[in-house]
């Protein structure tokens, strides 16, 4: 038996990442960060903007996601998302564009609290990416 589990990240256009033997994944779930280890019970949750951390052995991969759904079942973690990118080869310009857009959105009046919270959060995360 292997020590880890499988992870599949798919977006509508293609399969983004498929990896075996991952020891831990941290996802920005809706109600807070959630670390998933092997033999987690089946869970479905959705994501808020944040960083997915994929740890396998000593390697660590970070991805930024905006939204999505996670499903864990039979030691397979599936993440469905429409917007994801690898933090390592991220385009700085793209990030600052996203921040601007989110900030523009924030200035609208008809936002409800939940949306405002999500957008604030998004801006925060994106800013922390662009600094590094």
């Amino acid at each position: 038996m292997s020590e880890g589990f499988n992870i599949d990240i798919v977006n509508p256009e293609k399969s983004f990442l498929s990896k075996e033997n991952v020891s831990e994944v941290v996802v920005p779930a809706y109600e807070g960060e959630m670390g998933i280890l092997k033999d987690h019970i089946p869970i479905i949750s959705f994501l808020k903007p944040g960083i997915i951390k994929v740890i396998s052995g000593s390697e660590e991969h970070n991805f930024y996601v905006e939204d999505g759904i996670v499903e864990f079942k039979d030691n397979t973690l599936s993440i469905l998302t429409s917007s994801i990118f690898d933090i390592k080869n991220v385009n700085k310009k793209h990030v600052s564009d996203e921040i601007q857009e989110a900030e523009k959105e924030l200035n609208k009046d008809d936002l409800n609290d939940q949306k405002r919270f999500l957008l604030n959060h998004k801006v925060e995360i994106l800013k922390s990416i662009s600094i590094n």
Partner: protein
Amino acid sequence: MASLDDLKKRISSVKSTQKITKAMKMVAAAKLRRAQESAERGRPYSEKMNNIILNLSSGVSDKENAPKLLSGTGDDKVHLCVVLTADRGLCGGFNSNIIKKAKSYFQKISDSGKTLKIITVGSKGYDQLKRLYQDKIIENISFKESKNANYFDADKVGKIIIEKFENNEFDVCTIFFNQFKNVITQIPQEQQIIPLKTEEKENKSSEENYEFEPDEDEILGNLLPKNISTQIFKAMLENSASEQGSRMSAMDNATRNAGEMVDKLTIEYNRSRQAAITKELIEIISGAESL
């Protein structure tokens, strides 16, 4: 009979048509490969999405309070049909097959006295339907400027549908598209997306107990609109692969027909050239004889 000059002109015109159809076939073949690839790459997402929703909806205990996108409005008076077609012609029976399928469905709806509303995606479908169903078409969407089917466009269509659903503009939503089977076969499909049909639910033996965070209803409420866009995106991918496949085989046929036509015309040209020569000879000989 046409004169030699006319025949010559026709032969050269058919030949240049053949060149065009051949080029179109090549282009379609190249595009087909790409479209097919992206259709295959897009499959895992929609499959997974479907699975999750199946798991979720089998876990929903009271159907009364289930989200309306799943259970429907409880009525089926107003039907919304989304007809997905290509933006371009010259692709064999591709567009007309979808239209034919859609029309027979429309007929059924109006025969049973229900109200029909139509959204067309792609300009060819609009062109073909506007004559008969002008008053029924409530929206006409076209993505002429985007080169490939992309999720962003599908999401736009999905949002329009959901907005209309939330304004209680329809009860049942069906989409029409061509499913890509192989290059020569595309099957026109109708698929009901609102309320969601979950026939496979019974066959699922493994009813896993999931943990939900936040609760089921909220997840379903978040997921179902996404699923609409995903289904439309899937339909768009299938459609674009089908379109290229259909165009490729249509252009292949056209090229072959043009070749046959060139052969026939060449024979006719040669025959009439020979006849002209023979006639001239006979004239000379009989002229000499009479002297």
